[in-house]
Structures are given as structure tokens and as C-alpha cells.
């Protein structure tokens, strides 16, 4: 019991420390490009926190999460530019709408198991992406929303530069992490982990598996939608291309690399992959001038394969487990001579 309380305090103090660090960063880093990268990291972290909840704790998989991300972006974009709705209301509408859609679509999807489930999410994501491309009157089609999405603002205080937007994005991300953390350590979280452990056993203990899976799915969709809205108001222009299967896979890689079962996993994963991708951009161009396209996909692929084979728990949990087992073995070795 004492150990549990100690770990809880440790976790809370780590979160507090991390919050301080995050909010101090923009005062230290003055390079605008790095700041913009950090904003994108914050937006992606919100998505991946939701995805990790779904995959790590509920044990379900989603290969189409970029669609929810895109729905948030498009709802925000369309409502604010074409219909001149207040951006904050639009974000809320997008989040609620996406959540409801996820819940409803989840009902038939979560009756499937394993790879059929994965495929259904893939199919859903692809269909939504096709809708983005095809409904030209509503979304502007492949050329994107042309009306111009307004910046977010608190009254007269406009969030129109990276410095200000950074704080908004990371506040949202931190709220997302803390909320997810609370879910994990609550009754719902324990129910989720029991489902992940053994669905049969959970059901026999009276856990309403269907309801919980749907709720987590909807929550992860809401996270993605809010992040998408933030993206729309940051870039002030959206097109279907960032919301396709490649982005879904990118989120998947970030979740897996960071570690699905740790609260710090999403941040690690997003940061690692983003840093890698940015670093690769300049490196690749020097060596492979033919590769004009998305060469980061080769890195995603290889990383995904290596991690899944050798370190399926990702960087955070996997490394922690490796350290734990090393320490355990060291303790056993130290104890052995005394038993003679």
C-alpha cells in the first residue's frame, strides 16, 4: 500500500515537473521553426494519447484514426469558414459529432475480433478519406478548403503566432494526458485492463466489455477530433492529404514506439518519430535526390517492424522492463553466494 501511494506521488510530481518544463520551453527556444515543430508535436501527442488508451489499455486497434483527426479539422474548417460559426463552438461540435460517430460505428465494429476489427477500422478510415476528397462542394475536394480558416482568439487576443499557439496546444495536450491518466487509474481503467487481459474473464466478472470498448473508442476519437481542429486553426488551410492511411500508420508507429502501456509513451513516441522525420528530411535529400515523395515512410516501416519484433512494448515500457529484468538478474546473482 505504501509503495502504491509512493508511486502515485512520484507520478504526480513527474507530471508537475513535466508541465513546468513544457511551459518554460518557448522562453528558451527562440527559433521559430523549432517552435512550430513543437506545436505539431503537441497536436499529435493529443491524438496518440487517445490511441494509446484504445490500443494499450483496451487492447483494441485502430488503423483509421487519421479519419477522426480529419473530421475534427474539416468540421472546424467548414463551420468557421463557410458558415462563420464561432471557432470554439465548431471545435465542440466537431468533438461531440466525431465521438458520436465513433460510438455508433463502433457498435458493429467491436463485435469483430483481432484482424477483422483492424480491417474494419481501416475501411472506415478509408471511406471517410474518400468522402473528404469527393464531396467537393462541402470540403473543397483535393485542393482543400479555400475560404480561409480564421485563427482562434480569446476576444481580442488572437492566437496567430507559434509562441501563443504553443501554449494552447500544450495545455490541451496536458489536459488530455492527465484525463487519460485518471481514466487509467480509475474503475474504468481497471475494467479496460481486465478486458485487455482476458475478455472472457472480464465478462464473467460482470464487466460490460462492449460498453467500455465503445466508450474508449469514442474518447480516443474525441481526442483526435480536438487535435484536428487545433491543426486546422493553426495551418488555416486543410486538404484531404494529411488525413489518409499514411497518417493513420504514422500515429500507429508513434503509439507503438512510445509504448502503449505508459503515460509517457505518447510523448516519447511522437517526439522520437517527429525528430527522426525532420532530421531525415535534410539527410535524405542529399543522398537520394530522386526521392521527392514521402521517404519517411520507409523509416516508419522499418522502425515498426524492428520494434514489433524486438521491443513490442515500445521505448518506455520496453526499456523499463529490460532495466527491471537486468536489475532482478543482478540481485539474484548477488544473493547466490550467500546461500551456500
Amino acid at each position: 500500500m505504501k509503495d502504491l501511494a509512493r508511486r502515485k506521488r512520484l507520478r504526480h510530481s513527474l507530471i508537475a515537473l513535466f508541465t513546468l518544463l513544457i511551459f518554460a520551453l518557448p522562453f528558451i527556444i527562440t527559433n521559430n521553426y523549432y517552435l512550430s515543430v513543437l506545436v505539431i508535436i503537441g497536436i499529435h501527442t493529443t491524438v496518440v494519447v487517445g490511441l494509446c488508451l484504445l490500443m494499450g489499455y483496451a487492447g483494441q486497434i485502430s488503423l483509421g484514426h487519421a479519419a477522426f483527426y480529419g473530421l475534427g479539422a474539416y468540421v472546424s474548417g467548414i463551420l468557421t469558414s463557410t458558415y462563420e460559426v464561432s471557432p470554439w463552438i465548431a471545435i465542440f461540435v466537431g468533438a461531440v459529432g466525431t465521438g458520436i460517430l465513433a460510438y455508433v460505428m463502433g457498435i458493429p465494429i467491436f463485435r469483430l475480433k483481432e484482424h477483422y476489427l483492424a480491417l474494419a477500422t481501416l475501411g472506415l478510415g478509408l471511406i471517410i478519406h474518400v468522402i473528404f476528397v469527393e464531396e467537393v462542394e462541402l470540403t473543397g475536394g483535393p485542393s482543400g478548403l479555400s475560404n480561409g480558416i480564421p485563427y482562434l482568439s480569446f476576444g481580442n487576443f488572437m492566437l496567430n503566432n507559434d509562441f501563443r499557439y504553443y501554449f494552447l496546444v500544450w495545455t490541451v495536450a496536458l489536459i488530455a494526458i492527465i484525463l487519460a491518466n485518471n481514466v487509467v487509474h480509475s474503475r474504468i481503467g481497471r475494467a479496460l485492463r481486465s478486458i485487455h487481459g482476458s475478455e472472457f474473464a472480464a465478462k464473467s466478472l460482470g464487466v460490460d466489455t462492449v460498453k467500455f470498448k465503445l466508450q474508449v473508442f469514442a474518447l480516443s476519437a474525441v481526442y483526435a477530433s480536438v487535435a484536428g481542429s487545433l491543426y486546422a486553426h493553426y495551418i488555416t488551410f486543410i486538404s484531404p492529404s494529411p488525413f489518409g492511411m499514411m497518417t493513420s500508420i504514422q500515429f500507429l508507429v508513434m503509439a507503438v514506439v512510445g509504448g502503449l502501456s505508459s503515460i509517457w509513451g505518447p510523448i516519447f513516441g511522437v517526439t522520437a518519430i517527429t525528430v527522426l522525420t525532420e532530421g531525415l528530411k535534410s539527410f535524405m535529400y542529399q543522398f537520394f535526390p530522386l526521392a521527392g515523395g514521402e521517404y519517411e515512410i520507409i523509416v516508419f516501416g522499418i522502425i515498426l517492424v524492428i520494434i514489433m519484433i524486438f521491443l513490442p512494448e515500445g521505448l518506455t515500457s520496453g526499456l523499463a522492463n529490460t532495466y527491471e529484468s537486468w536489475r532482478y538478474r543482478k540481485e539474484k546473482a548477488d544473493d547466490a553466494p550467500k546461500n551456500q
Partner: protein
Amino acid sequence: MNLTSELLQYILSGLTMGGIYALVALGFVMIHNVTGIINFAQGEFLMLGAMFMVTLLGIGLPAPLALILSILIVMVIVGIMETGAIRSAKKASPVTLIIITIGLSTAIRGIALLVWGTNPYRIPPFSKGGTIHISGATLVPQSLWVIGTTAAVLVLTYIIFEYTYLGKALKACMVNKFAARLMGISPQRMSLLAFMFSAAIGALAGIVIAPITFVTYDMGLMLGLKGFVAAVLGGLSSTTGAVIGGLALGIIESLGAGLISSGYKDGIAFIILLLVLFLKPGGIFGTSNTKRV
């Protein structure tokens, strides 16, 4: 163009793409039945076959030789992939395996991007000749090659499964892996064999469809996904189902694109996927013990 010839046109072009989907689906089903893995990289086998054909033709090899060499190269690459990546992850959960094959497919696409760039390539049609006209509908000679190749592959597969030892061993693995092991058949060798066979079919399909569509580094993505939908449609456990699923998907997609909306063409396949998964996950021909809660 009256309605009958329009319909005929859609059906004929649907049969052409359907043949390709059938071949992809066949590869899927083969791997899935022998190893239980959903191979998301199947589409990339087609892309690799077509790409190597482009390169080999480019250095001046005669077409038949380039064809055979391309298929062999893809088989070797896939064999290495199987022994390297997939075998090391045998104990992993199904979800992990899916992610691994997604990773492999992405990596292969990325390497293709680096090697061949983003330019679309062209392969000349197998035989010369103008378009063929059948009561108002037009057909490119290459389409006949596609349909013919599909039929030939099916016949060949049937012969291999029924009359050769390796084929029968593969079939045994598909029916009951444990019993096959008791009979002295090595599941690991069969897994490798299944992958290489699927690779060969995939490469051939890619080469044969290449003169009709352009060859790009990402052509495998959509083809693989749709072939997969065809496999699910036919029931992941049945090779006949895979073929019929492929042809059906091709025709439905073509009719839908022509009659309803051409933009949603890609969406049609995935709507079919969702419908099948929700209503009858076993597919048209599958058994009823599919994984439903």
C-alpha cells in the same frame, strides 16, 4: 452508346480488374490459411514485379526472360522477408503480426520510392493490336492477357494442389496444421512456400496489369487493399471464394463507378468490406466459425 453496350463495357473492364483482385486475393488466402497471417504487404509484391520488369526491360532483356526473372527476384525477396522478419515474430499476437506486415509493406514501398522515384513508368502491352470491339464495348488486347493469365494461374494452382506433393502438403497445412505436422510436413517450410508462391502470383499479376495502369511506387497499396477486400468477400478460408470474390468485386466496382459515381470508386470497395464484415464476416463461402464475439 446504349445501355446494353454500356453495361457490357463496365462488366468487361470489371472482369479485367477483377482478375487482378482475384490473383491478389488468392495470394492472401494462401498465406492466411497456411500461417494465419494477414499479409498487408501482398500488394507490394505486385508493385515489385512490375518495377523489376520495367528495370529489366530497360537494360534490354527480351520480355519473356524479363518476366521470369522478375518473378524469381520477387520470390527471393519475399523469401528473405519471410525468414527474416516474419519467422522471428511467430509467437506474437495477431495484432502485432498485422502491424509487422503493415510495417513491411510500408518499408518496401519506401525502398521502392528511393530506388525508382516517384515517376510513373510504362510497360508496353504484351501483344500488338488495336482495340477490340464487342457489340459497342471496347476492350484492349491486354485485358485478354489479364483474364487469360488469371485463368491460367487458377488452373496451374489447381494442378499443383491436386497432383504434386508440395501442393498437397500445402493443402494439408491449410486444412489442419497440427495433423500435417504429424504427417512429417514442416509448417515452417510450408510457410515459406506459401509466401513465395503468393509472391510469384503477385509479381505476375503486377506485370500483367502494368501495361493498362501506370507503374508507380505506390500502386501496390490500393491493389493490395482491394484484393484483400475481395478475399474477405469470398471468405478468407477458401481459394475458390477468393477468386469469385475478386471477380465480383471488380464487376461491382466497375458498375458502381460507371452507373453511380466514378469518384467514389475506391470507396465502393471499402463499403463492401464494411458490409461483409458487419453482416457476414465469413464471406460468401467462408465457414461460420469466424472470429465474432
